[in-house]
Symmetry: C2
């Protein structure tokens, strides 16, 4: 299966609905601002997961479409608030909302998308008890996302343990993936046991996805990722590679050298290469890649309960794609 083609197809299917649920109400600047992120695209992974999970349990995917949109709105709400907090000025080739408009409009556009997402969940054309279950998944995800982002803010410029790192990416990535997957399955009226397996699939895939993302930031091809290699080191970004190195490097001189490069925005190209070489030597880069691969293998096992279908194949392919992509 060509996962990129499939994602593009799913993205096209969801584009129309994404543009249909934010009405032309007053005030115009809030409406316009709240449309910018969801209309601008992105990989649309979460909506694709919602639809595939619904299809994979034999459900009617059209019933899951409003949830696919809701999850994308909620994802975009978190991006808007995170971009403001992190001071990021660009996303998807456009100015972020607090730059294009102003601070209040950015915060309110996020809040409005949040509300609209839950409005779509309320209106899902499925049994109310299933809707209630979906609401539980999504509210838990948003609660956890706030915790994860706060941990990220708290951890800035700090060296944390592998455990804290894993918990943070679990909260920031896995829980919304899980709400998307379990929610899609519930739209398809899946058995509770199947819903839980699909949830586990997505939780593990989220971890693998994020770990591999970190790996790409160090080992990736800059001409493809568009990120300058090693910049994560300069920014002192916490990754498995860093936690592993700090824990396993016994040579005190090398350790001191590594710490002097980590989080040093003034570090030269040569400094950064040396830091990367230290991580490579100690086995941290391989360790990070292997950890991501293990999570994806574990994720895929959870889909064994499903009969074969194109949607199941897509979910498996998406998991593989998470650790085989160049971008």
């Amino acid at each position: 299966m060509d996962v990129i083609e499939y994602l593009k197809k799913a993205s096209k299917e969801v584009d129309g609905p994404i543009r249909s649920y934010i009405p032309d109400e007053k005030p115009a600047n809030l409406i316009e601002a709240s449309r910018q992120y969801p209309y601008a695209g992105g990989k649309r992974m979460r909506p694709a997961i919602v639809l595939a999970a619904c299809g994979a349990v034999g459900g009617d995917k059209s019933k899951a479409m409003p949830l696919a949109v809701a999850i994308e709105y909620i994802h975009n709400f978190t991006l808007i608030h995170d971009d403001y907090m992190d001071g990021d000025e660009e996303r998807r080739g456009m100015k972020t909302l607090h730059v294009a408009y102003d601070m209040p409009t950015a915060i309110l556009a996020g809040d409005a998308l949040f509300a609209k997402g839950f409005q779509l969940i309320a209106d899902l054309d499925i049994p109310a008890e299933n809707m209630r279950q979906i609401l539980r998944y999504v509210t838990k995800a948003v609660w956890d996302l706030a915790r994860g982002q706060q941990m990220d803010v708290n951890n800035e410029h700090q060296l944390v343990s592998e455990e804290v790192y894993t918990e943070t990416i679990f909260l920031k990535t896995s829980v919304l993936f899980a709400a998307a997957a379990a929610g899609g399955a519930l739209c398809g009226n899946a058995d509770p046991k199947v819903v839980r397996e699909i949830e586990q699939f997505a939780l593990d895939m989220g971890l693998g996805f994020q770990m591999y993302d970190d790996y790409l930031g160090i080992a990736g091809d800059t001409t493809k990722t568009g990120k300058s290699v090693g910049n994560d080191l300069r920014k002192g970004k916490c990754t498995l590679m860093v936690t592993y190195t700090l824990e396993h490097l016994k040579d005190e001189k090398k350790l001191a050298r590594f710490k002097s490069i980590l989080g040093n925005m003034e570090a030269s190209e040569a400094d950064v290469r040396e830091g990367m070489e230290i991580m490579r030597e100690i086995g941290a880069i391989d360790y990070n890649k292997k950890a991501a691969e293990d999570k994806i293998a574990s994720a895929k096992k959870h889909l064994e309960c499903l009969p074969d279908s194109e949607d199941k194949q897509f979910m498996l392919a998406l998991a593989d794609f998470s650790i085989n992509r160049e971008v």
Copy 2:
């Protein structure tokens, strides 16, 4: 009925539950920040409305308690974000969150309370279809609150029409009152017709409440309101008194004088007294008071469908209190 005593009683009943739904999770600073506003009290009008509406339709008020808490959390989420946007540094005698903590923690504490509120709605121990209806009311309220706050931001330092003023306070106050009242009635399994009447009661009461609030800012006893009289004039706050004066004052010299005082933070005590006298002369202060009274009379009519009960009496008394209070 002594409405203050009744509100105090309701506030006490809801205090315990308000403190029971935010668990000791990580990170501690986010949890602590998200607790500050709801724990600090306030009039607790919205939870009292939820519980009274449930009781007034013959429902079991204990079933409505989690919704009372949810509405209060959601109200507090909007206060936290509004305080940050408005640059307010104090609330309920404490530093606002962005001052006591920092900007990201304030935004995330708001988001977390929002999520927790909807989690409580998902878990309501009532028929799922009723829960779905409540979700529709509350999500619409939050969507409208964002619109109302954005209109407020857009209207700053602008003179708007009575129509725009009324729409803004409808969105900023009435819709959440309505979600509280209709939601409480739905927890009590009320007939859809009754739910709509109770919703209308709250919408009108919200308008009357806010209009009277503006009136107090001008005509109130400063030793009781704690606001310096006429400061709303200096800040150029849009009220019915202002829209009425601008529309009806034909004496061009007086109109120019009034406009020179309005929104002028440097205006002296004498200037402000002159501005208030202009409003009094033209009948704007009476007009504002009368408009608030009309809304409350209209609100109370919507409760005629309910049998007599202590909860109904409280709702009527609360409506009267809205336009007879000194604070």
